[in-house]
Amino acid sequence: MKLPEVSDRLSGNRFVLDEEESHIEVNQALIKSTGSADRIIAACPARVYSKGPDGDVQVEYAACLECGTCFAIATPGSLSWHYPRGGYGVQFRDG
């Protein structure tokens, strides 16, 4: 079977968006120079990361499913990633 595009896949999930605060921050210079950029773009199951026209890594933090894969594979220091504030982020209905 074929699932819809990732953005549509996520549309069935419940998210409580933290409008004030992103829980992800990228160190652009380091993430590119260490090769972490390509790694996290490929590995993220929610397609949170993409490359912008200027080559910078863009972050769609609202789509994050909070697994921590990016944080585990990015070179330390190139990515700051923690859980969203309490009550925010993805809220699985089934899990």
């Binding site: 199951p45 809220q91 899990g95």
Partner: protein, 433 residues
């Protein structure tokens, strides 16, 4: 003098490990608060969904009848998967059903039920609050920090799952290596009415679980496996990708998952299904090697936060080990608080209890499993070897057949794997699993 504690025990994380620990402590009369960052217990949690539930029924004798379980798994399939062929072992056993050995669960429902049991015995359940760090005074954990607030306790329990920021940030847990972690990607699927029963051949509360070694997908990745489990009305289907293998292939997680879903075997079960939910979560894959120090001054670590997960390729186990670690930790905490010594020495019976329990025993029994599962031949050559032997038997084309042994020898020769390599891997496998 430090201020009086607000609670006897603070438990961080309302997953399986945290809820069971909190429940057992409150049952013994302790004042317990259970803090969870999700909107409600379970809302952040995801697993493949097979709970080996004997430990759980020790804690909750009514678990099988009262808890929101999906199906009793009494049929297990293990499948070596290539791009367009597969080799499957199919094992069914009525004893697994009558014994209630394993059930499928959906975490948002089961964790919420567990949290409810906690409330029934007086645990203060505090959802929607993220713990930002531990309060440490003179080398002793004395509580937690959440935003501007501080909450004090005699003992704190880190049940905050595989990423365990609270242990990591306090320097109590090293960064995991890539081969010690896997990402699990999962879709919850719904088939048209009646289709689940007919496609999987299940009735009533009977259920099937399939685990795959390799995922097809053009060779997939080293350390890749899939799962497909039947729930009452839905199917949990997913991919588990060890991070070292995933990074090495440079393939996209999403592409691997999509190729897995499109595989002819998988498609025969799930075609036409509707997506209900899509999620992902990390899994510990390091086995015994990644279990760190589980007792500190004023702090114990349970469940995934402590590294208690076992992936043997045949079964993924974490929820039962989370339950078992809670059963080992709770009496130690009660004893430490009663004796007034909540230092690491006072809490040390947790380690002893754990070593004696099925958690410690099984973690040690399968200590060699992670290393064995890093044999990359498992995810490519062996699946092909098995199907080639079968093809030499079933692929009748008027050329003369050979006996099975000769067919196997021929397939082995064609595979380029040496007999010695295969024998060694076989022996390693039998010893590790």
């Amino acid at each position: 003098m430090s201020p009086e504690p607000d609670f006897d025990v603070i438990v961080v994380g309302a997953g399986v490990a945290g809820t069971v620990t909190a429940y057992l402590l409150a049952q013994q009369g302790l004042e317990v608060v259970l803090i969870e960052r999700g909107e409600s217990a379970g809302s952040k949690n995801l697993s493949g969904g097979i709970m080996y539930c004997r430990a759980m029924t020790q804690v909750f004798p009514n678990f099988l009848t009262e808890a929101p379980i999906e199906r009793r798994i009494d049929r297990n399939q293990m499948c070596f998967m290539n791009d367009d062929s597969w080799f499957m072992i199919d094992y069914g056993d009525e004893r697994l059903h009558s014994g209630g050995t394993a059930v499928t669960v959906l975490r948002a429902h089961i964790d919420a039920w567990l949290a409810e049991q906690c409330e029934n015995v007086g645990v203060t359940v505090m959802p929607g609050v993220k713990v930002d760090g531990l309060l440490i005074e003179n080398g002793q954990v004395v509580g937690v920090r959440a935003g501007e607030d501080e909450l004090r306790s005699r003992v704190t329990v880190a049940a905050d799952g595989v990423n365990s920021f609270i242990c990591r940030d306090a320097g109590l847990r090293p960064r995991q290596k890539l081969d010690q972690l896997a990402v699990g990607v999962k879709a919850l699927l719904k088939l048209p009415d009646g289709e689940l029963e007919s496609r999987f051949g299940v009735s009533d509360d009977h259920g099937v679980a399939m685990a795959t070694v390799g995922v097809g997908a053009g060779g997939g990745a080293n350390g890749a496996g899939g799962f497909m489990y039947t729930n009452r009305e839905t199917i949990s289907i997913g991919l588990v990708l060890r991070l070292d293998g995933l990074v090495e292939t440079k393939k996209r997680t999403i592409d691997l998952f999509d190729q897995f879903l499109a595989h002819p075997l998988i498609d025969s079960y799930v075609h036409g299904a509707e997506l209900v939910e899509y999620g992902c979560h990390l899994i510990n894959e390091g086995g015994w090697d990644m279990v760190g120090q589980i007792v500190h001054n004023g702090l114990v670590v349970v469940g995934d936060a402590a590294g208690f997960t076992l992936n043997t390729g045949l079964t993924v186990r974490g929820m039962d080990l989370a339950t078992g670690s809670a059963q080992a930790a709770a009496p130690a905490i009660v004893q430490a608080i009663k004796s007034g010594d909540v230092s690491a020495a006072g809490l040390a019976s947790y380690t002893a209890n754990l070593d004696r329990s099925f958690v410690g025993q099984d973690m040690k029994t399968y200590a060699k499993a992670p290393q064995f599962l890093e044999t990359d031949r498992m995810y490519n050559e062996y699946g092909k070897l098995l199907t080639d032997v079968m093809y030499r038997t079933y692929g009748l084309d008027t050329t003369p057949r050979q006996h099975l042994l000769a067919a196997a020898r021929g397939a082995l020769k064609a595979s380029g794997l040496g007999l010695l390599t295969v024998a060694k891997d076989g022996l390693k496998g039998v010893r590790a699993l």
